[in-house]
């Protein structure tokens, strides 16, 4: 039996070595092909980069030599386009890229979409969104009916949000995939304001992560319309939503009334108290000092620290803090006030 095993082992080793050898050969051939591919790509880049610049920026005539032949040249064009789109904002250039891609690159990506390889399909979906190939929209909708992964689905949503916001709104509300907050933000940020505001209309039907993402995106968009929507959310039943809305309002930085915020000074959640202490930065100290003094004596270190920082930002802040240090008997609060005041004076 042992004898048998030795020869079996030898056979196995031999077999494995052969397999590895074939793999090695395949790799070497692959390398060769890759380097040829790169050569073609780089040659295209070298020869036509200037043409592209002239065509896109200087209104030079389009030349047929720019049309790609083969995937190496497509990759070169992708490189050129992505360098432009990533660095430069120019509607005319974007439009030209879009037109070109719809005309000459569409076929390449359409083929890639039906690839068996997940990564190739993903890359195609990336490009369709980046280069705005809207003629592939119906193709994408067909593609959605296949058994696709969550990542592909996300990419499709992004494509819809670019080409057909209504379809996007419908899909995202009925989507049963749960994406990360940051992914929802990536989807929402590109929406037009009149589409985005619809999220607030049926806010409660959204999943928690979408709700958070809506609030955060609204804060970044800094539209006055959203200010009122965010203020409404301060009365929402979910504490986390209240805190997010406070944070959003702080980031927008326009505080036109105090009343909605005052109740949070005595909130149960320290995060809410912290956010209020931050929000008061945007309000003159005369209106907020009494609340900030209260927050300066908070049980939570972060709240105390923020309250002191907010006070100090005002022109008369240091004087107020000194006054507080002399009159108070809350040792923790005094220490915090002293530290922050010392740091401010040190600067």
């Amino acid at each position: 039996m042992i004898k048998l095993t030795v020869s079996t082992l030898l056979a196995i080793i031999f077999f494995l070595l052969v397999v590895l050898f074939i793999f090695l050969m395949y790799l070497l051939v692959q390398r060769q092909r890759e380097s040829y591919f790169e050569k073609v790509r780089d040659r295209y880049l070298q020869n036509y980069s200037q043409f592209w610049y002239d065509y896109l920026f200087n209104n030079a005539l389009f030349s047929i030599v720019l049309v790609p032949r083969g995937s190496a040249q497509v990759e070169a064009i992708e490189k050129i386009f992505s360098s432009y789109l990533k660095n430069i904002r120019n509607e005319q250039v974007e439009l030209k890229i879009k037109q070109f891609s719809n005309q000459y690159l569409k076929a390449f990506y359409e083929k890639d979409l039906s690839s068996k390889r997940w990564s190739i399909r993903m890359n195609a979906l990336y490009r369709i969104a980046d280069l705005q190939i809207d003629e592939l929209l119906t193709k994408c909708q067909e593609f959605e009916k296949n058994n696709i992964t969550d990542e592909e689905h996300f990419q499709l949503l992004k494509i819809y949000s670019l080409f057909q916001p209504d379809l996007f709104m419908e899909k995202i509300k009925n989507s049963n995939v749960n994406y990360a907050e940051s992914e929802y933000r990536r989807l929402f940020i590109l929406l037009d304001d009149n589409v985005f505001i619809r999220f607030f209309h049926d806010f409660n039907s959204l999943s928690a992560k979408m709700q958070f993402a809506v609030i955060d995106t609204a804060a970044v968009k800094r539209n006055m319309e959203y200010l009122d929507e965010l203020k409404k959310l301060l009365h929402h039943d979910t504490p986390e939503i209240n805190i997010r809305a406070l944070k959003g309002l702080y980031e927008i930085g326009i505080i036109d009334e105090m009343d909605p915020f005052v109740p949070f000074v005595t909130s149960e959640m320290w995060e809410a108290r912290l956010m209020v202490a931050k929000i008061f930065k945007h309000v003159p100290l005369t209106y907020t000092y009494s609340y900030l003094e209260q927050l300066l004596q908070d049980e939570n270190w972060w709240v105390r620290s923020q309250a002191a920082k907010t006070i100090v930002e005002d022109r008369h802040g240091i004087a107020k803090l000194q006054q507080f240090i002399e009159s108070s008997n809350d040792q923790y609060a005094i220490e915090m006030a002293q530290e922050i005041a010392a740091r401010k004076e040190g600067k």
Partner: protein, 473 residues
């Protein structure tokens, strides 16, 4: 003679059986890793990178650089951190009471000025002497503290840090510009369900670099270092990726890993009285997850690359391996109750047994195998067959696996693009079982022994500095 006979048969059987077991488990992990990497083959990652460079989609990270006598390497490390493509970071260099010029070098290089800063003590540590802030980079600070070991230095860093995640980087390592973005990817995309992530470590020896950026990867010329390169590739393909898929990771390298500050603090930060403080923290966090019955994960990310310097001489390598193994044993021993404990689920039933059997006690058995072959040679014919089989298993285990790892890495990541380098690695892999493997086995067994005898000495590595003699101006 009878006794020797049955002894030989018995041990031969055990070793053979063990080798088969190890080979099968490695094969399984290799296949899992292969499938995982195949899916991602040629995926364009820049899409994610470009989007997430925007602060709106990512979370700020504090980068902790503990430095004890790192005057040669630390400046390059900090440069590599300054060049990271990441929207919001702070760099905290912690000088752990170095006796060389580390402090002065950093102060001079980055124009550090003393500042007053309020530090919140989340984890008790040795005293901080002074905190400095760079005049050039406002997000770069230096903490000068009493010597207390790497773990203590990291704890100070955690206390000083202001962001929700921290990343520990050894004071002699270089990060790839996109590595932080990508190691944070599982954390961002899981909305914090992943609470720690470790990156892939590569060997920097031989790579050409300047001011903290690697501009050409080149296979080092030293055979000892090439063997380590191969060893790292293997460990990564047959181990880390598969374990990570099932949330079984017990080790994410301390040289480059990200943790959620909240969880790390709750787990008590880094333990100061243990050799393998990085493993200890991971195990503690696993423990915490299970005890709080939360659905959190620790992941290993195959792509992010941290370049670190490998030992170039046998002496230093011996010290390193001895220490690593002693550390591994110590950590496993400390948490031995988790082994096969239903409370800890898969960690208890799969991870711990795997680490005990394959990683920790493996060298002992394997070394036994080598000794067996030698003895069998002297005892004569009857044992030749068992010895031969053992040898063949070693060939599979050593040579075949190594070559497979080299080829597969070359296919999926292509770190060393030159054909000559690829062939050189493969040729060298054939020699592995004759010198490198037995040597490291021996050192690791030494480590085991030292743990049993409770010896400890902190094998300090002699550093050349990653930037080959190139002086940073």
């Amino acid at each position: 003679m009878k006794i020797i006979d049955s002894c030989m048969m018995f041990f031969g059987g055990i070793i053979l059986f063990y080798m088969l077991f190890v080979i099968v488990s490695y094969c399984t992990m290799f296949i899992i890793a292969m499938l995982d990497l195949r899916k991602r083959y040629r995926l364009d990652l820049s899409e994610y990178d470009d989007a997430h460079i925007d602060a709106f989609y990512s979370k700020p990270v504090s980068l902790l650089v503990p430095a004890y006598n790192e005057e040669v390497g630390v400046v390059d490390t900090v440069y590599s951190l300054l060049n990271l493509r990441y929207p919001q970071t702070e760099i905290i260099i912690i000088n752990d009471g170095s006796t060389d010029q580390t402090l002065q070098t950093v102060i001079e290089h980055f124009q550090m000025k003393p500042i007053n800063k309020i530090v919140r003590t989340n984890i008790p540590t040795k005293d901080i002497k002074q905190i400095y802030e760079s005049e050039i980079y406002k997000n770069c600070i230096l903490v000068d503290k009493e010597n207390g070991g790497k773990a203590d230095a990291l704890n100070v860093g955690i206390n000083v840090s202001q962001y929700p995640y921290f990343c520990s980087i050894d004071g002699d390592s270089i990060l790839d510009e996109k590595s932080l973005l990508r190691v944070m990817k599982p954390i961002i995309l899981s909305d914090g369900e992943v609470i720690a992530a470790g990156g892939n470590i590569r060997i920097a020896n031989g790579a050409k670099m300047q001011f903290g950026s690697i501009y050409e990867t080149q296979l080092p010329s030293n055979y000892l270092v090439i063997m380590q390169v191969i060893e790292y590739l293997r460990a990564f393909l047959m181990g880390r990726i598969a374990l990570s898929k099932f949330n079984l990771v017990l080790i994410i390298s301390g040289a480059f890993s990200v943790f959620s500050k909240k969880w790390a603090v709750e787990a008590g930060g880094y333990s100061t009285n243990i050799i393998g403080e990085d493993m200890e923290l991971v195990v503690n966090i696993h423990r915490l997850i299970k005890e709080k019955k939360e659905n959190k994960r620790i992941e290993f990310v195959p792509d992010p690359v941290c370049w670190t310097e490998a030992p170039q001489t046998l002496g230093v390598l011996r010290n390193q391996r001895r220490r690593w193994h002693q550390g591994l044993f110590e950590s496993l021993w400390k948490h031995k109750k988790m082994t096969l404990n239903p409370r800890y689920g898969m960690i208890g039933f799969l991870s711990f047994p795997y680490f005990w059997l394959v990683e920790c006690l493996g060298p002992l058995v394997e070394l036994g195998g080598y000794i067996y072959i030698v003895i069998a040679f002297f005892l004569g014919k009857i044992y030749y067959e068992v010895a031969l089989m053992l040898l063949l298993l070693f060939v599979i285990y050593g040579v075949i696996f190594s070559i497979a790892a080299i080829l597969f890495e070359s296919w999926s990541m292509n770190t060393y693009p030159k054909k000559r380098e690829l062939l050189r690695m493969i040729l060298l892999a054939f020699t592995e079982i004759f010198w490198y493997r037995p040597l490291t086995l021996f050192w690791r067994c030494e480590g085991l022994l030292r743990f049993v005898l409770r010896k400890s000495d902190w094998g300090n590595m002699k550093r050349v500095g990653i930037a080959e003699k190139e002086k940073s101006v």
